[in-house]
């Protein structure tokens, strides 16, 4: 597994642990109430598990196993850029409620996430090819 995939997949595992922890707290609270403020974790629970875990794991595994050009994986910088943009975006979106509604952090985070997907698609596109091409 290449170094960048290790970063992607381990980061995804951290998000899985965080997302499941938030989910555990909210589900416990649903059954045996602890504090109503726990519902504020719902957006982070969804963001961490959909983008932080699932999407990030898909990127990491794809970078590892998609067809290569002999031994090279194409434009690796784009894949690193996607990693940085995706994680910056996830945290901006997640922290948005605590950073202030009028500052546009959430909107900026969504833009960064979209740019991450574009960067990764540009990296992966030429690797989606027949054997030997």
């Amino acid at each position: 597994m290449p170094g960048l995939s290790v970063w992607y997949v381990r980061t995804a595992l951290v998000y899985l642990a965080l997302g499941l922890t938030f989910g555990m707290l909210m589900l416990w609270h649903k059954g045996m109430p602890i504090h109503p403020a726990l519902w504020a974790l719902l957006p982070a629970h969804i963001e961490f598990l959909l983008l932080g875990w699932t999407l990030q794991l898909a990127f990491g595994v794809a970078f590892w196993i998609l067809p290569r050009f002999r031994t090279k994986r194409g434009n690796v910088r784009l894949a690193w850029l996607a990693y940085a943009l995706l994680n910056a975006g996830i945290w901006l979106v997640t922290l948005d409620p605590w950073l202030g509604r009028l500052t546009g952090w959430g909107w900026t985070g969504r833009v960064l996430e979209a740019l991450a997907v574009i960067a990764f698609a540009l990296h992966a596109w030429p690797r989606i090819k027949p054997p030997g091409a």
Binding site: P2, L20, T21, G23, G31
Partner: protein, 139 residues
């Protein structure tokens, strides 16, 4: 394909079918002929899909395909991996029953069942993370 992977993937497929059935049940127009709990299936539908199908499929394939841990323990701690399967599924099954019932008619028994299901699913997820972590390495 190792036996635990087959079990994870087949269980995931069963949850996918259940998720789609739950999705169908929750989208039916209200009618006195339908069971009342159909109206309370939305969180169950999402979690059957995301935890039962997506997460379990990933865990099963990851257990099979991630880099080998060591020659002696190629897939890490097998007992921990089996614990992940048992805990995750016990927790999810408990949730599927307890969550709609608790929403329909709150009762401490269902409340404690939900709390227990939360802990079981969390422990299952953490067992997977702990077992997968050392296998995610450069080579």
């Amino acid at each position: 394909m190792p036996p635990l992977t087959r079990l994870f993937i087949k269980t995931a497929l069963a949850y996918l079918a259940l998720a789609l059935l739950a999705g169908l049940a929750r989208s039916l127009p209200p009618s006195e002929a339908l069971p009342v709990f159909f109206a309370y299936l939305t969180p169950v539908y999402f979690h059957l899909f995301m935890a039962g199908w997506v997460l379990q499929l990933i865990i099963g394939v990851g257990y099979w395909m991630f880099p080998k841990h060591t020659r002696e323990q190629p897939r890490g701690n097998e007992a921990l991996a089996w614990a992940a399967y048992g805990l995750l599924n016990a927790g999810l099954a408990l949730r599927v029953v307890a969550e709609p019932l608790h929403a329909m008619q709150p009762h401490p028994a269902w409340g404690w069942a939900l709390a227990l299901s939360a802990v079981l699913q969390w422990l299952g997820g953490m067992a997977f993370v702990a077992n997968a972590w050392p296998r995610i390495k450069e080579h």
